[in-house]
Symmetry: none
Subunit: 224 residues, 2 copies
Amino acid sequence: MATILIVEDEADIRELVRFHLEREGYAVLEAADGPEGLEKAQTHLPQCVILDVMLPGMDGFEVCRRLASGETTAQIPVLLLTARGEEVDRVVGLSLGADDYVVKPFSVRELMLRVKAILRRTEQSRRAPTLNRNGIILDGVAHCVSVNGEMINLTATEFRLLEDLMRHPGAVRTREQLLNTVWGYSFEGYARTVDTHVRRLRQKLGDKADMVETVRGVGYRLHA
Amino acid sequence: MATILIVEDEADIRELVRFHLEREGYAVLEAADGPEGLEKAQTHLPQCVILDVMLPGMDGFEVCRRLASGETTAQIPVLLLTARGEEVDRVVGLSLGADDYVVKPFSVRELMLRVKAILRRTEQSRRAPTLNRNGIILDGVAHCVSVNGEMINLTATEFRLLEDLMRHPGAVRTREQLLNTVWGYSFEGYARTVDTHVRRLRQKLGDKADMVETVRGVGYRLHA
DNA sequence: TGGCACGGTTACAATTCCGTGACAAGCGAT
DNA sequence: ATCGCTTGTCACGGAATTGTAACCGTGCCA
């Protein structure tokens, strides 16, 4: 499941949060100061960072800024822990790119909900190695596809075609777009080739065949 | 820029928030109760909804639930306004799919920052050129159109025609202009062809048919 | 009031578009 | 070499789409 990094100098708070996060099934990394937090963020690329603003040495804002400017770490959502009533701090934090904050002393339950909310928001945009839409599951690593739990056997071309459609659920893909991504830019052939492969794909999809919709005069689309 | 809907029964709070939102450059819609808020959300698809929990009649949680279960409105982020200290409410709200909350009485500055944070988070996924005028929603990526929340089925030509009109709301488009952009410069045909397609389009638009206005002697125009 | 220009409406034939089946070339394994 | 599988192309046919023409309704102007 998701990995979460907590950067906090007070050990008892780290333990408290770790305990609850692990009970929810998350993997937890700890760091006691800013530099350690930055380094663990860069090496482990957690799905979320819980970051105390008051840190010895480098403060949380500086960590936040450096995370946002790093190429690999810019996408990691940050949840700030601030002291009560420091509205100025919150303002600075949010404008620095933090995704959310919680005021200390905080309700653990609320913190968990906020972490979940952040992960829920980001997991949609993150590219999943296995795609799953309405009973069609495509595993890019194992290179296999199941429909309603039953494995089906796709050829390489059919697999890439389905993959492209599933990566753009609800979006129309023109024959040219499909030829470019599935067959490659060097392919110089008949656009109707796509049709034939769509037909073969639909055949193998069985009762989920109508998930692949025809948009007449435009192209094909995976039902959203 | 972005459109924001505020659902709040107290008119002075609506005005206060509207004033600051408009100063930031946002377009603002107002609704005084839950049903009105739902309806405006469905027809205008704002980029964000600011929703008071305490509403006469249908409360904010119910509005939130219905927004989340609607196909077109599920993606709209919701920012809840709750009364001080009602942690139970916050928890319920966040688990219902609200993206954030602010406790009343709130700092306007903080509210603005939270709205900006929400918009920043969602604008990445909102890159899609979806046009929206008065209940007619045209999604260029999915290549589909909905009127009052109901999907309608347009042919490719009808779609391009509506797209051109919606890209120029309130502006008259002559038949020649339409022929050039919708049919392409190479088209050499009868200008009255446009009329036939306008008619077919109006038929499918149902009670929104009069959004496509005739400007006698000039061309057609989408009602502003 | 009548004529006229313009757009709405209807009908229809031509065309386009897509699903389907068939087929041959390519390719790897046996 | 032979077989089986994959893949690209093609032709046919049905269905949806589209352009055109003819006819009708309405507003405008003298």
